[in-house]
């Protein structure tokens, strides 16, 4: 009987190509991922079939499950401008450092009185800040002022960005640079609270609103 030779092979595999690939992908995703700044409130949005991506230049009003209202403006320059106007309107004194800090913050929800204390908090403890959100009742409608100053400032910064893009020889669409108005309401929030915010927008004659949603399957356009 001829001997059957069993080929001796080492069970160790050369993993180098696999590791190369894995690290390549890790690097790619690390660079491609954009980290959102930590928000003081977590909101679970309902889903819809819409496939419109959230715009760059926006004014966002967040409504949490308890109906508290938060405000956010994406453009740092516009934030500074808005805060300056708001501080002089409500006679709240803020120093340059606080202004700078505010321009880099994200969503916030506190009255003008509480704002300096809120800005001075370190980033992690802002989540625990006890507040009733931005006041928006008829006697003290701070949200209305935030939106109206905010949209003017955002319109200006959008305009300069548009001019810059034009000078670079691109053919930009002016509509892309205008601020968009976004409502991010938690699915469990009562609709009447959202309606109040919508009414504030409509009083300022801002009628094109957007609701943040997570995407879901579209029966009309399955792909």
């Amino acid at each position: 009987m001829p001997k059957i030779k069993i080929p001796k092979s080492s069970p160790s595999i050369d993993m180098t190509p696999m590791v190369d690939l894995a690290f390549l992908l890790v690097t790619f995703f690390m660079l491609a991922a954009s980290f959102r700044p930590s928000e003081p409130v977590t909101v679970e949005t309902p889903s819809s079939i819409s496939d419109k991506v959230i715009p760059e230049n926006m004014i966002m009003v967040t409504i949490d499950p308890d109906g508290k209202v938060y405000f956010n403006l994406t453009d740092p320059e516009a934030r500074k401008e808005t805060l300056k106007n708001m501080a002089s309107l409500y006679k709240v004194s803020l120093n340059d450092e606080q202004m700078e800090k505010f321009s880099l913050m994200s969503t916030f929800g506190c009255s003008m009185k509480e704002l300096p204390a809120y800005i001075d908090l370190p980033g992690d403890s802002r989540k625990e800040f006890k507040t009733d959100g931005i006041p928006l009742d008829s006697l003290d409608n701070q949200l209305k002022n935030w939106i109206s100053y905010g949209q003017l400032a955002a319109l200006n910064t959008g305009k300069t960005a548009y001019e810059e893009a034009k000078q670079k020889g691109l053919s930009p669409d002016a509509a892309d640079f205008k601020p968009k108005f976004i409502i991010r309401a938690d699915g469990k929030a009562v609709y009447k609270k959202a309606e109040k915010v919508i009414d504030v927008f409509r009083e300022l004659n801002l009628n094109n609103l957007n609701f943040v949603t997570s995407s879901e399957y579209n029966p009309n356009n399955p792909n």
Binding site: S12, T16, P46, I182, G187, N207, N210, F211, T213, E216
Partner: protein, 211 residues
């Protein structure tokens, strides 16, 4: 660690002891573990953080409403409460001022595909049937897709197309509202108007909820 792999295949050595050869290979398993862990983390976080927006144009606010509300033809009104939805078609006739078919009665439906979606698809068949014809033309390359979008917009604005009024009570949730708007958009309805609820409608809704 590097020796484990070599001694694994050494069953035929018959107990012979050899001087240990130091290998230049490094065990990469922990590194690979870490790499894949990071990879999974980034893949999952980067795909799930893309929120979408659904736009809704509200009518401009008028300080003084002029005269009576305009007559609504071919309209459906939804009354929303917490996780419940009712509707009636056409005009609203309260119990003390009934129309030709008597006072308005509410019909209950739900947010599923067999409930709300079917109701809207049936009532808006005028637009949906014509839209199918347009889609066929686009697929057969008889029509450009820009023309298709324009024609569809025109179709949505026609008097025969369904119009939707949304009225909410104090208990309705944002999720209910967004779900309804979403279904309305699926049914290709162009005119959506969130309007305040009439006291008579609220009364009718409350009696319906108690059932």
């Amino acid at each position: 660690m590097a020796e484990i792999a070599e001694s694994g295949g050494g069953g035929h050595d018959k107990g012979k002891k050899r001087a240990k050869k130091s290998s230049t290979r490094v065990d990469m398993t922990p590194m690979v573990d870490l790499a894949f862990l990071l990879l999974t983390f980034f893949v999952l976080t980067s795909t799930f953080s893309k929120p979408k927006v659904m736009s809704l144009a509200y009518p401009a606010k008028i300080d003084k409403p002029t005269g009576d509300a305009p007559k609504l033809n071919n309209g459906i009104t939804f009354l929303l409460s917490k996780d419940k939805i009712f509707y009636y078609t056409g005009e609203f006739y309260p119990a003390d001022r009934p129309g030709k078919d008597g006072p308005t009665k509410l019909t209950e439906t739900n947010f599923s595909a067999s409930g709300l979606r079917k109701v809207l698809a049936d009532l808006n068949s005028y637009v949906l049937l014509r839209k199918e014809g347009l889609v066929k033309k686009v697929k057969a390359k008889q029509m450009a897709d820009t023309t298709y979008t324009r024609e569809l917009e025109q179709l949505k604005g026609k008097p025969e197309a369904l119009k939707v009024l949304v009225k909410t009570d104090d208990k309705a949730l944002c999720k209910n509202f967004i779900d309804l708007i979403d279904e309305v958009k699926i049914a290709e309805i162009g005119v959506i108007a969130p309007v305040p609820m009439l006291p008579a409608e609220l009364k009718l809704l409350e009696t319906e909820l108690k059932k």
